[in-house]
Structure formats: C-alpha cells, structure tokens
Symmetry: C2
Subunit: 456 residues, 2 copies
C-alpha cells in the first residue's frame, strides 16, 4: 500500500482545498429556496467523481433533492462494497454564533470550520479521495465499489426508501459502509456497531371542556396536568426501570464480553457530566452510563405543556395537558410494538376523571451489527493501520434509520466507520473537521478497500 | 316598608335604563389606554349619587384608578354600614363571541347583557337605587351608610390597602356589606359566609444546561420533565389528600351542622359535572363535591411547560421544566406558611439529578364569617323578605382578598350579599344580569338597611 498511502500524503493540501470548494455550496436541504443549490451541490460531487475511472457517475433525481451514484466494477471475483453518505447539510441558525461564516470555510487550529465539513461532506470526500488514490496510482480499485450519496439525510431521508427500491439492482453489494458517525475520542478509531431505535408518542389528557376557575372548581374535578404528571411518574419505578408491561421482553441483556468492551473504553464520566451541565448522573440501576445511553432502552418526556405558563399567575384548572413521550429502543425491540405497549399502559393507568388519547408519531428501528462476521475484524485492522491505534467497537444512542433499512434490504453487514469527533458541532454553529483525522480517514478508507479482498 | 318597596316597583324601568347608561362606559381597568374611561366611569357614579342627600360624595384618587366614596350619617344612634363594590370591569376578549357588543347593553330574555352588568356595576347600582328609594320617600336612610366603590378589583386591588389605611377614619363602620358574589341558584337568596384563600407558587426544575439530544444522552441523565412530573405526582396520596407535611394542621374539620347545611342545598351534581365537561367527579375522599370546593384546601397545577411541545416530534432531553402550583386555602390556613411548607417539601422530594427552585408569587387569606353574630340572622331575614324564599348560607371556593382585609381591618362582620347567578359569565363573553334579580336585589338592600336597626 506504499504507493497509495504515499499519494494520499503528497496530495494532502489539495484534498483539503477541494473539500473547501464543495463546502462553499450552501446545501441546506430543509430550505426550499436552496433547491438550486442542492442540484448544484450534487452536480459538483458528480463532477469531482468524473475522471476517476468510474463505470457510471449519475445524478439520480428523486421527488425531493437528487442523490449521486457512482460505481467501479473492475474487480471481477472481488467483493462489492456499497458506501453511503449524504451531501446535504444542517441549517446554520443561529448565524451570529459562527466565528467565521458557515459557507466560507476557514482553517484554524488544525481544523476546517464550516457547515457540512464533517457532516457529511468531509466524510464523503474521504472515500472520494481514497478512490482517487487507487485510480491515480493503480488505475483500478482492489474491490468493486458503489457510492450512493443522498441529498435528504438532514430532513429524514424521505425519498430514500423509494429510491432504494427503484435502484435495488444497482445498489446490490456484499458489504455496506456508512461514514456519518463520530469516533469515541481523538485518535481512537471506532467502529459503531449499535444504534438505538425510536418510538415517539404524543399523549393528550382532557378534563373540563375549557379552563375553569380554580377557586370555583378546584378540588371537585381531576386536574389534567396533575393527572398527566401522575401518569408520567408511574412510567418508571424506583430503580429507573420502565414499568410498561412487556417493555423489556425483547431486550437482550448485554453479554459479559460486551460489557467488558464498553468498560475498557476511556470514558471520562465527570467530564461527560460537566459537559451536560446536569448536577448528577442518573439512570437505570445496575448499568454504567455508557451502557445506559448505548444499550438500554429509555422512556423520556421530550416536552410537556398544559394550562397557564406565562409570567405571573392565573388561577385555572386547565382543560387539557399534552406530553411528547419517546422511547429509545435497543436491538430486538420494535417501534410499533413498544408504541402500542406504552399507549395501552397509559390508557390503563389513566384515572377516570380525564380522557386520554395517544398518537404514535413515528419510529425507527434499532441496529446491532453482526460483529461475529469476519468483515468487522477486517475493518478494525484497516482502521488500526491508518491510525496506529487499536480500533474499538462503540455504539451510538441515537438513531440512523437508514442503517437498519439498508441492512435489512441487503441482508449484508453494515460498517459504521465514522471520522467525526464527539464535540464537532455537527448540528450547531461552528462545525469543524479535524484535518489530521481527514487525512487518516482517507488512509483508513484505502486500507479498508484493500483489506476487504481477504473477506469471502 | 310599603313606601320604599312601592317606589322601587314604580321606578323599575328607569333603574334599568340608568344602569345601561353606566355600563356603556368601557371601564376596563387592566387596559392602560382606558384610564380616561376609568376616570369618567368614577365621575359618572359620583354624579348619580349626588342629589341623593349624601353628606359627602367624593372621587378619591389613588396611585392607580380612582375610587368613589359617599356617606349618609343622618341616623344618630343607629349602626353604620359600609358597602363595598367596584366600578371597573373585566376585559372583553374574545370579542367575536359576544352576541351583542359588550359596551352596548341589550335586553334579551329578561336579562341585561353587557360587560360589567353584574360584575359589579349592577350590584353597585342595587345599593345606589335602594338608597334613592329611601331618600326619595323618607328623605333619610334608616341607618348610617358609607359606600366605597373601588376601580381596581379586576386587577388585584393593588392600591386599596393604602387607600384604606389613608381613609381608615372615613371607613369606620359596624358592619360591612360586599355585593360582588353570586346566589346559589335562581331565586335562592344566598349569604356567602366562607371564601377560600390562595397560595401561588412557581416551581422550576433545571437539568442540563441546554436541551440535549435524547439519543446521545437519553437514559444517562435525569429528565427535568420526568422529574417534575414525579414530584407533582407525589403531592397527592391515593385518597386525593395533599401529602405536604403540616398542610392540614390548621384546617378545622367541618362541623356536623355545617355539613348538614351544605347537604341541604339543592345541588344538582350531574348538572354541575355536565357544565364542566369533565368525565367524572374527583376529589378528596370522604367529602362531597360542595365540601371539596368550598371548605377543603386543594393543590392544583395551574400550568406546566417544558421541552418541545409544538407540532410533530423533537427528540430532546429538555434543559428545564416549570409548573405553576397553587393551593386554595380554607379558614385558619395562612398563605405564607402553606407556600413555605409546599416549597420545602418540593425541595425535599427533588431528586439529585435536577436543581429545583421555588418562588412564591402571591397569596390571599381565606375568610370565614362569624355566623353566630346576630347580624347574619338579620341579613337572612331581609333577603328572605325581598325574595319570598328562605335565605341559605353558602361558601365560595374562590378568593376575594379584600373581604379578609376589611374584616381584619375593621374587626366587624362582613356580609357577602351577592345577586349574581352561577352561570352569569362574569369573566367571559356575554355577561348577563337577571333583571328580576336586579329588582329583588334593590329590595333586599332596602330591607337590609331597615332591618339593621334592630342589631345593636
């Protein structure tokens, strides 16, 4: 691999410069007025892929923003890797908190600052530049490779399922690699092997037909806010476990080796806590913080509202109260089932003085990588070669519904090989990319392509 | 009393017409732009009192809206009655729900419709017209009478205490009569002998320093909304009793005769429930609905807010949550003490994963009339003479802080002789006054003045 690695080192500055040019395009998918920028953004990526020896480079239209597809199928008999990324970026508000403008990328402290530098344009370019390194040094890739870069990840990938069905033949592969996550910490190459799912509900509690005077009626009727509070309180026991019957039925306990692996990570709990501003650690009894946020299901109120909440006092019995309640799910839990169980339980514990309605808003399925598949050891080896540090398995408490979708659709292992950092401000002002990580990422991708040859 | 009663009958239509003229003045005390109307409103009342043989008719300025004062002290040796009312009215929103405009009073179905017709302009005019009936028929009142009509009742009577201190000599009296409440029902003359007090708190629960991603952090930190809900849930036990230590320490149990009197009232519970729209009766075990809303203390959430509560879903651990919590108090409970007990208890039950702050917003003391004082039998007799129906003692679950203030300041019994109806829309669109009640109210006041001569 000396030739390829050496090429990557020689072109380090140009790889950064070219990323900067792409980041300048304000590809905010949520802003309808940016549709022309989204098209330009996709075309810019396609153009940067042309001349890299691909069999096809195509911009695929969707009912929303376009996706970009390319494929290199010059390695008969070798496995095929499907790489996923996205070319759209988050909005930039609040704009006045940016040190330098989001679409005028700047380099400071060894970092590139700008919207999309790491989420996900930088990570897409890691693959583009690894491909270039092979093509320019060897005229071909060691494996077959397909690249799909969608334009709607930041707005829920609304049209991705339809596109994947339409293009299912084009997207066929042996392995999938998603580069859209973060490393556990600086210089700790990390493969994410688990994602939590989600079941999101809205609960409404109705009492009187309108707000009533709390003097004239207080004490004679059940107050919907008090009732909702009591119902929410009943959803956890004193050990922080969710009390909904059946909630844990499909949850697999962490194995001793999974727990040992999590425990071995250099997790600085006091620093983590300080970064949140909360006064104390809290969670399900019998589990560590990383276990709680990675591998245990939760039930949280994402919001609540009812009655008067302005400045001062208003003496009413509110007519209604509402809470948003969502559960983070772990492997084997199903969003629809959990939503049903929680909804049924809420109705069961609803007191007779109020009417309770529950609406299932949306969900996403959890993902657990089949880490006993040999491709994970291969990916670890590739990652470790690039960074000179052992690669760890981590999980992510959030959800990337696409991962589960593509894993189910292809039936193939999905490698979550991310090059971000935990504090990279991916969805906040001052998003940054560590330029050393960018360079090591390109090498990691190159090593991965090379090493995948050994997996059959 | 034939002369006086006959005069009231003869002038029935004019009494209504004159009230209509006064109601036309939009005396909304909460609207700073209405200050000139408030001044005009006070002057209109003062003018209607001039020519009724008063020793003094004065408009008393305050730091806010003016009050009107008049006195008739032509009955040496007779007791002195202080009558309290207010000339300001509630706001009129939502304006489009009014059948006829709030300040263009209209007569329909034997009712006068308009803002302030019963709260409290109509009830003030009941006394004005009773006074007129005596003056025009006998040139004098049977007792000494002082009338104070303030202009800030609907905005918390902010400057009334200062005015009462400043004018304490002018306001000295043997009995107080407040006409600003409702009768128990149509044709049921009612003396209100108890008012609940109030202690109003704001509770804030802080967790992380900003909203956190519920995927990355959910399960590892205490969620402030969940925490607040659990705290609120702990404030009641399974019998609907408030669990705050010391909460009931000063509460006197209802006596057997008080309970019997309440039970004797023609209370239609299904109708009351239907009027609220709630699906079921609810409250403290061991008490009837009227006992619960009149004579038992409560703890209610008047409002709650935290996290995301818009349309759709947002997956956050909210940084904070807030609830407005108020207690209705019964005689012998003190607002400051209850606020302290509830606040201390909330802090005591606050879990370590959040920071809890409690602010006491305001309070009002409860009132219990000294019904063993002979003036109550006299008032009952007067009321019964006018209506031809037995007068009942009732209570009111709400608070009129002024009543307790004047009762304490004067040390004299306070008669709450109200002529409204329970569904009069006093603070809502389409406020109305039963014109038959208006007429009988004038007679009731006249009988009261006459009968008070017998109390020494």
């Amino acid at each position: 691999m000396k030739d390829v690695i050496s090429y990557i080192d020689q072109h380090r500055q140009r790889f950064v410069d070219e990323l900067i040019e792409w980041v300048k395009i304000p590809a905010i998918s949520s802003d309808p007025e940016r549709a022309p920028d989204m098209a330009r953004n996709a075309e810019h990526l396609a153009e940067s892929l042309r001349g890299l020896g691909a069999d096809r480079v195509e911009v695929w239209p969707t009912a929303g923003h376009p996706a970009v597809f390319a494929e290199w199928l010059h390695a008969p008999g070798a496995p095929t890797l499907l790489v996923y990324g996205h070319h759209d970026v988050q909005p930039v508000d609040p704009l006045d908190e940016w040190v330098t403008p989001p679409f005028e990328p700047a380099i400071r402290d060894g970092r590139l600052w700008g919207r999309g530098v790491v989420d996900d344009k930088g990570q897409v370019y890691i693959h583009v530049k690894a491909i270039e390194a092979f093509i320019k040094t060897r005229k071909r890739l060691p494996i077959n490779l397909k690249l799909i870069v969608e334009g709607e990840e930041e707005i829920g990938s609304e049209h991705l399922d339809a596109l994947m069905r339409e293009k299912s033949a084009d997207l066929r592969a042996d392995f999938v690699c998603v580069s859209d996550t973060a490393m556990f910490g600086r210089n700790i190459p990390s493969l994410c092997v688990g994602l939590r799912g989600l079941a999101y509900l809205e609960v409404r509690v109705d009492g009187p037909k309108n707000d009533l005077h709390s003097g004239s009626f207080g004490g004679g009727l059940l107050n919907p806010v008090n009732a909702l509070a009591a119902m929410i309180a009943k959803l956890h026991d004193e050990n922080g476990r969710v009390t909904v019957p059946g909630f844990y039925d499909r949850v697999h306990e962490l194995t001793a080796s999974e727990r040992a692996e999590i425990k071995s990570l250099p997790f600085d709990e006091p620093e983590w806590l300080a970064s949140t501003g909360s006064p104390a650690i809290h969670g399900e009894k019998g589990y560590s913080t990383l276990e709680r946020v990675w591998a245990r299901p939760t039930l949280d109120c994402n919001g609540i509202v009812g009655g008067f909440h302005g400045v001062g006092a208003k003496t009413i019995i509110p007519a209604r109260a509402m809470a948003k309640i969502s559960c983070r799910l772990v492997p084997h839990q199903e969003p629809e089932e959990i939503a049903r169980l929680v909804g049924e339980h809420l109705k069961k514990i609803a007191p007779p003085g109020v009417r309770v309605t529950v609406e299932y808003l949306h969900g996403g399925r959890p993902y657990l990588a089949p880490t006993d598949h040999p491709v994970f050891e291969v990916a670890k080896r590739a990652f470790t070669k690039a960074f000179g540090q052992p690669t760890v398995f981590i999980r992510e408490g959030g959800s990337i519904p696409f991962v589960r979708t593509i894993a189910d659709a292809t039936g193939k292992p999905c490698l979550l090989m991310g090059f971000g950092q935990p504090d990279e401000n991916a969805h906040a002002p001052n998003e940054w990319l560590d330029l050393e990580n960018y360079q090591l990422g390109i090498k990691s991708a190159a090593y991965l392509y090379e090493e995948l040859l050994s997996v059959r």
